[in-house]
């Protein structure tokens, strides 16, 4: 067993007992990266020198017998849409290929202050638009459970890195499922907190009313530890909520007797794989055995969430991505003789196909004559979707569903048909539309490929979904599955 197999809390103990040092741990993870990343391709940028320097700093504190936070000395990776001061942040786009942020995203700053050691930046679908990481402008990332298959997306690099032991934990971002769907595909734990729980300052925007940063970890205990350090109000993000942050670790009690769990039939969509449904139903039986009360519920408007999302998110994206014009930062086409030609050429070369598709879709939905029929209508549908959740949560504590309707698919299987790719997020999108917290945990394997179970909570009630997910994880027999990555 290598050091990369351990969790944050185990390594924390080992660091305190001096059974290892942060430097030794960090070096061993870089060795692991060197060995497996040529196959997985999770990382876009490595920051080895800076990482070893941070690790040594933590080792000094430990040697002096200082108390250190749980994340101190622990190697982490960040999705490449999270700004890191002095370290290239590309969004997997040609547009930002050489962009070096002059500041840290709030989450990056908080983790670094807590002593976490930044290893590097992780691959993703360009500007977080996609469900397979095939839309990266640089290269696709592969699924550690089967190198012929996608890791999911858009946080594919972040998730594959944790599954393959190339980081102890990572952060991703989730706009329509971009943490939970890949977590399901790679057999790790991924959480999207409530909208407003975690600062988005320094997260390169895709759809601002839906984006949320969250932890990707080996298990639920680690998830709580990372959430503890990134949650909370930030004056630099006016949508981050000023509200107390509980100690999420103390929510981890393996006891769900009497917990009322709703099973929304609409989150078991038509066309979902039979094996996925069977594993999720089995997990629900397990929750019942443990004393939870599980009942079928209905969220009648959720089947409309996907079409509404693909109007709202591209509309916001078309506005957010207007800033990439080649003027102040990022790629510029240098041959254009006038400024409008420069805008057009810069954007056409700088953005990839899916990004252009969504910009055009969003521009169309917002354009004169179509605004009311598309964008405004979608916002009204969003209200109906929220109301469904509000109503169900009057009688239930948690909702449970699959995190993805399928197991990981093969490269190229959906990349030519945008709509079939979009449907990969059927189980996760409604939750973003309502701004709720949700977590995906492993619940078994279908022909050797991981399946994820999704727990959805009330706004700002991350504690209850952490407790339910923890209780399930401890009793499921699927705690910390590890792929047998056969590489030379």
């Amino acid at each position: 067993m290598g050091l990369y197999n351990y969790t944050i809390y185990e390594l924390h103990e080992m660091l305190i007992k001096k059974e290892t040092s942060s430097e030794e741990l960090t070096r061993s993870i870089f060795q692991r990266i060197q060995k497996v990343d040529p196959y997985i391709r999770a990382y876009l940028t490595l920051a080895e020198e800076a990482a070893l320097k941070s690790a040594k700093k933590i080792d000094k504190l430990l040697a002096a017998g200082d108390r250190v936070p749980p994340l101190a000395g622990i190697p982490m990776g960040l999705k490449d849409n999270i700004c890191t001061s002095g370290i290239r942040t590309t969004c997997s786009s040609k547009m930002l290929e050489n962009f070096i942020p002059p500041y840290n995203a709030t989450v990056a700053g908080r983790l670094i202050e807590n002593g976490a050691v930044l290893l590097g930046k992780l691959n993703m679908d360009e500007f977080a638009m996609g469900s397979s990481t095939e839309n990266s402008r640089f290269f696709p990332t592969r699924n550690p459970w089967d190198l012929e298959r996608v890791p999911g997306g858009s946080s594919g690099g972040s998730v594959a890195a944790v599954a393959a032991g190339e980081a102890i934990f990572t952060l991703g971002s989730d706009t329509g499922g971009s943490i939970r769907q890949p977590a399901s595909f790679c057999g790790v734990v991924g959480m999207k907190p409530t909208y407003g729980r975690v600062s988005r300052y320094g997260l390169i925007a895709y759809a601002s009313s839906l984006d949320q940063i969250g932890p990707i970890t080996k298990d639920v205990t680690d998830c709580a530890l990372v959430l503890n350090s990134i949650a909370g109000h930030d004056p630099l993000d006016s949508t981050s909520v000023d509200r107390d942050v509980p100690d999420y670790s103390s929510a981890l009690v393996p006891e769900i007797k009497g917990l009322k769990i709703g099973i929304p039939q609409e989150l078991f969509p038509e066309g979902m794989e039979k094996q996925v449904e069977e594993l999720v139903r089995k997990a629900i039986e397990k929750l019942e055995e443990m004393g939870a009360v599980c009942e079928e519920v209905s969220l009648p408007h959720t089947p409309y969430a996907l079409p509404a999302y693909y109007l709202v998110a591209p509309a916001e994206a078309s506005s957010n991505l207007a800033r990439y014009d080649g003027v102040r930062y990022g790629f510029r086409d240098k041959d254009a003789e006038d400024v409008v030609t420069m805008f057009m050429k810069t954007r056409s070369e700088g953005f990839g196909e899916e990004v252009k598709r969504r910009i055009m879709l969003g521009t169309y939905a917002l354009s004169s004559g179509y605004y009311e029929a598309y964008y405004l209508k979608a916002l009204k549908v969003r209200t109906l979707i929220r109301q469904d959740f509000d109503l169900v949560f009057k009688n239930y504590d948690v909702l449970v569903s699959p995190a993805s309707p399928t197991v990981p698919f093969k490269f190229g299987e959906k990349s030519e048909d945008p709509l079939s790719m979009y449907k990969s997020d059927l189980c996760t999108i409604p939750i973003n539309m309502a701004g709720l917290p949700a977590i995906s945990v492993p619940c078994g394997f279908s022909e050797g490929l991981p399946v994820g179970l999704q727990f959805v909570g009330k706004p700002f009630d991350e504690e209850t979904i952490l407790r339910a997910a923890f209780a399930y994880e401890q009793n499921s027999g699927f705690h910390r599955p590890e792929p047998s990555l056969e590489v030379n």
């Binding site: 002059p102 409309y304 079409p307 930062y329 057009m344 954007r347 252009k356 354009s367 701004g435």
Partner: protein
């Protein structure tokens, strides 16, 4: 819903994207398919429903009007493709 090549060209211009004739054809087909699927939301009656642009009850957030530390000009211009004398430089506008 059917989007023509001409619609695509119009939207591309609004989006400041240059697309080839071949691309316009591909996007017309794809966007038509996607928008036809979106039509599903028209099954819902929403005339008395308030829109949700944001899930949180947001108000304007102000801070004290006092000077705080900010990026030095040199730092702010580090990623700029072309500069001159501390300014951003772009090609001819008019």
């Amino acid at each position: 819903m059917s989007i023509s090549r001409k619609d695509v060209e119009h939207v591309a211009l609004l989006s400041r994207l240059e697309i080839s004739e071949k691309e316009a054809g591909v996007y017309a087909k794809q966007l038509s398919e996607i928008l036809s699927y979106m039509e599903k939301i028209n099954e819902l009656e929403t005339s008395n429903i308030e829109p949700t642009a944001h899930v949180l009850p947001l108000n304007n957030v102000f801070r004290e009007d006092k000077v705080e530390q900010s990026l030095a000009r040199e730092e702010a211009l580090k990623n700029t493709p072309d500069t001159e004398q501390g300014h951003v430089k772009v090609p001819k506008i008019v």
